[in-house]
């Protein structure tokens, strides 16, 4: 099979945990299959273990989102054990997880996404030389500060949690730590340093406050031309360059979105319950499908393993979910092709795939009916209306969260009452059911736990990557990334960099390889690699 060397990004990768196969006909992608290629079996390991084992095990599912795994694993136990979480405990959890995301945003943008912007396919752009000067790996004038300073927000995580990645300092009832005055002041100073030296200096070219005044697509365009500093910041440059090279034209996806929401208003979630969850969220949850908003209900989530390497059939809610792997060699004979299950959401009796991630969060933030403490931000609903979903829109949604979360973290730091409690010892109920969810940088992340006889009876995790890159379901409906790939125009059949942009715009926590096939002859056109933050 001729494998043509087409991937010219300097950060290449041949193949990895995620394989994406696409068929190309007449210059457009006509079908796509996403294949997760690695299995470790965390859900099986957790069966029969200590109720708190998820606090240690689930962060190790993904070292990029470990703090997010810890956050939702903790709430799964909080709801199962009916704990009391003092406001300080909620604040510290919020701060820590948001700092993980503040780390992820620039690390992802420069190390993984922007390196494709220097692809030789764009050499004819008048802005290409400038793109290379900024974004070239290791030596780019923006790559260096963006990647190197991404370690600053997680210094704050370490102040509260001891280390990042892979602390387990959040526990049912609060947090293990009790910060001192200098912990809080140092955390504040580190974030100010990061804001001054990367967020405002390189990315925005303006103050955080100025950026957050943007409420519409017209506002954003006006912002770009407001002054030299904004026009030439990495953000201003990216907005202009992305439109010039057409990143706003493809990568649409299913157009249906899920946010499980994250960050609790401390006074409204002192006694975490599943039912009270939506109303206590600062970053709102919600489903937006077929043009309508509805409230997120975890009971409507189910997983299909029809095309995944597991035994079973039908759609199972995670509390009764099963994880029984089969040999992929056998599974392929039955049409199975991925280690990711296919999560689906019950919309009026129809189980549909939903896109999750920053764009889904921004959509949820535009829903009507926000309480005064909740994120209420019309920007991305306006952008969807004006320019629609695309690689560009998804990317801007992610970057918009850097100034937004920065402001939130600074606010939460100011709210910590050093003389009040950080933890209430819970009663460890031997039996119960729990649900905990959050928003990792790359989307909705949730645990379902069933306890019995003082140990874990069942434990199921649905990651944002499973939502986005999950395979077809029993009806043959494509997963969200599969859908986003379909229709992508391929300008150069020998170098389909467009596919890389689409795949990367989901920021899946798997490295993925894209195989491109000619739809008529079946010949493999190319095999190239899309980096991921594995």
């Amino acid at each position: 099979m001729p494998a043509v060397d087409l991937f010219v990004s300097p950060l290449g990768r041949v193949e990895g945990d995620l394989d994406v196969r696409v068929t190309i006909e007449d210059g457009h992608v006509t079908s796509a299959w996403t294949e997760a290629a690695m299995f470790r079996g965390f859900e099986i390991i957790l069966q029969g273990k200590d109720p708190q084992a998820g606090l240690i095990v689930t962060p190790r599912i993904c070292g990029i989102c470990g703090g997010s795994h810890l956050y939702k694993a903790c709430y799964a136990l909080d709801t199962a054990w009916n704990t009391h979480v003092p406001p300080n405990g909620t604040l510290v959890r919020n701060i820590a997880q948001a700092c993980e995301t503040l780390q992820s945003i620039p690390r992802y943008f420069y190390a993984l996404f922007a390196i494709d912007l220097v692809n030789k396919n764009y050499a004819s752009s008048s802005m290409y030389d400038e793109a290379v000067r900024r974004f070239a790996p290791y030596v780019g004038t923006s790559y260096q500060p963006g990647v190197v300073l991404s370690n600053k927000p997680v210094e704050v995580y370490a102040i509260f949690g001891g280390q990042w990645p892979h602390s387990s300092f959040m526990i049912p009832g609060g947090v293990m730590s009790a910060p001192t005055l200098a912990d809080v002041t140092r955390a504040t100073a580190i974030l100010e340093h990061w804001k001054d030296n990367w967020l405002e200096k390189h990315w925005l070219g303006c103050s955080v406050d100025r950026w957050l005044e943007i409420r519409s697509w017209d506002d954003m365009l006006a912002w770009v031309d407001e002054n030299e500093s904004q026009h030439n910041s990495d953000c201003g440059f990216f907005i202009r360059y992305a439109q010039e090279i057409g990143l706003d034209k493809y990568g649409v996806g299913p157009g249906n979105y899920l946010a499980t929401g994250t960050y609790f208003e401390p006074s409204r979630y002192e006694n975490p319950t599943i039912d009270g969850r939506n109303d206590a969220l600062i970053g709102r949850s919600g489903v937006y499908a077929n043009g309508e908003f509805s409230e997120f209900d975890h009971m409507k989530v189910a997983e299909s393993v029809e095309h995944a390497f597991y035994q079973g059939s039908g759609l199972l809610h995670p509390w009764v979910g099963e994880t029984n792997p089969v040999d992929p060699l056998e599974g392929r004979k039955n049409g199975k092709y991925s280690w990711a299950k296919a999560p689906r959401y019950d919309l009026g009796g129809q189980y549909i795939p939903l896109e999750t991630g920053p764009l889904a969060r921004r959509v949820a933030a535009g829903a009507p009916g926000a309480a005064d403490f909740q994120d209420d931000d019309p920007l991305f609903m306006d952008m969807l209306e004006r320019i629609g979903p695309s690689v560009f829109t998804r990317q801007m949604a992610r970057m918009h969260e850097a100034p937004k979360y920065f402001r939130w973290v600074m606010d939460w730091l100011s709210q910590i009452d050093l003389h009040e409690s950080f933890y209430t010892k819970p009663v460890e109920a031997p039996a119960g059911k729990g649900f905990g969810a959050t928003e990792a940088a790359r989307g909705a992340l949730a645990d379902w736990i069933v306890l019995d006889d003082g140990k874990i009876e069942n434990y199921q995790v649905i990651t944002p990557t499973a939502w986005n890159i999950g395979p077809r379901d029993a009806d043959g409906t494509l997963g969200p990334m599969e859908q986003a790939l379909v229709g992508a125009p391929i300008a150069d059949m020998d170098d389909p960099v467009e596919l890389g942009h689409v795949a990367r715009s989901f920021d899946s926590c798997l490295v993925c390889t894209v195989h491109a096939y000619d739809g008529k002859s079946g010949r493999e056109l190319s095999k190239f690699v899309v980096n991921g933050m594995v």
């Binding site: 494998a3 200590d50 240690i56 370490a158 300092f169 730590s177 009790a178 003389h419 690699v529």
Partner: protein
């Protein structure tokens, strides 16, 4: 400087994420200033697309010299030792690992998974995972107990979940600057310069340990006391420099009030996470720690503890890490 090929088998990327937190040198320094030749890395590799697969074959055949082969992630052998639960570049990852380990001058396992199987190898070990040269504490693992790299060294283990970036970068710099001979390994193939000391060495709670004063509760309860007695802290039983070389240049788990989980030792996660073992000290006769600090025994421990409690000054019973 040296050439490095970095692979991820059954990995969470935590060691890569940790590596990216490094300073002095940071990743850009290593490559731009120190001239580290990163042949390929899952997130950072400079090599291109389909050429990379050829590159792996060239590295495996010796056509492309490779000084250091770094493996992050557990070696997944299921099903039936076929390795098909972790496919990479059109073949089971275990086949790449075997060939590349043979071809490299030095092989480095980064993180618990590559060292001894890690969390995926916890019972019932559904992916039949193991480490490169150990399975938990047992010698052997994937490559076998007597395996040696071309330079004559066994796999160098840099454990931890994850490994601290300095443990990685300083070893890479040492190997790259001709100091391989200065890297003395312990019985578990860990560099002694990092793993001779205990996690407790340098812990801010060590004075409380000295007088046998316990932390009473999480949260504000961690303003005082030692986490060893009630909360399962493994600081006196674990070898690491976590309190000598701080995490993210700021702190450590024990300083922040979280018990050490012993993640640089092959038994991690300890007791296979059996009910009642997480964040709780295992005891005999209701009060005595089932495991006492390394090198002591229950009798001498109890004698020492009784004397220490009598000697405990008033300040050791009060909050120390206060606002």
């Amino acid at each position: 400087m040296s050439s490095v090929l970095w692979f991820q088998a059954g990995a969470c990327s935590g060691n890569t994420m940790s590596f990216l937190n490094a300073e002095e040198p940071n990743v850009v320094d290593l490559i731009v200033d120190f001239g580290l030749d990163l042949i390929w890395h899952p997130s950072l590799g400079m090599e291109l697309g389909a050429n990379a697969q050829k590159l792996f074959h060239d590295c495996a055949s010796g056509a492309r010299p490779m000084d250091i082969f770094v493996l992050e992630g557990t070696v997944i052998q299921a099903p039936n030792k076929s390795g098909r639960m972790d496919m990479f570049a059109d073949r089971p990852m275990i086949e790449w690992v075997k060939e590349l380990a043979e071809a490299a001058s030095i092989v480095v396992a980064i993180g618990d998974c590559a060292c001894w199987g890690g969390i995926p190898a916890t019972a019932p070990n559904p992916s039949d995972s193991t480490g490169l040269q150990f399975h938990k504490r047992e010698r052997g693992g994937f490559l076998g107990p007597d395996w040696r790299s071309k330079s004559g060294l066994p796999v160098i283990n840099i454990p931890g979940c994850p490994a601290h970036p300095d443990w990685i970068t300083q070893i890479l710099v040492a190997l790259a600057t001709g100091r391989a001979g200065d890297i003395a390994l312990d019985d578990l193939h860990r560099p002694q310069t990092f793993f001779k000391t205990f996690t407790q060495t340098g812990c801010t709670r060590v004075q409380f340990f000295e007088y046998k004063q316990s932390t009473t509760s999480f949260g504000e309860g961690t303003r005082t006391g030692c986490l060893f007695y009630e909360f399962g802290c493994r600081g006196p039983l674990t070898h690491s420099p976590c309190n000598r070389i701080l995490w993210n240049r700021q702190s450590s788990k024990t300083r922040a009030g979280m018990p050490c989980t012993g993640c640089t030792e092959p038994e991690f996660p300890h007791f296979d996470l059996a009910p009642g073992t997480v964040f709780k000290t295992q005891k005999v006769a209701g009060t005595i720690p089932a495991e006492v600090p390394e090198g002591t025994d229950h009798l001498s421990y109890m004698a020492h503890a009784a004397a220490a409690r009598i000697a405990a000054p008033q300040w050791s019973k009060e909050d120390m890490f206060v606002v």
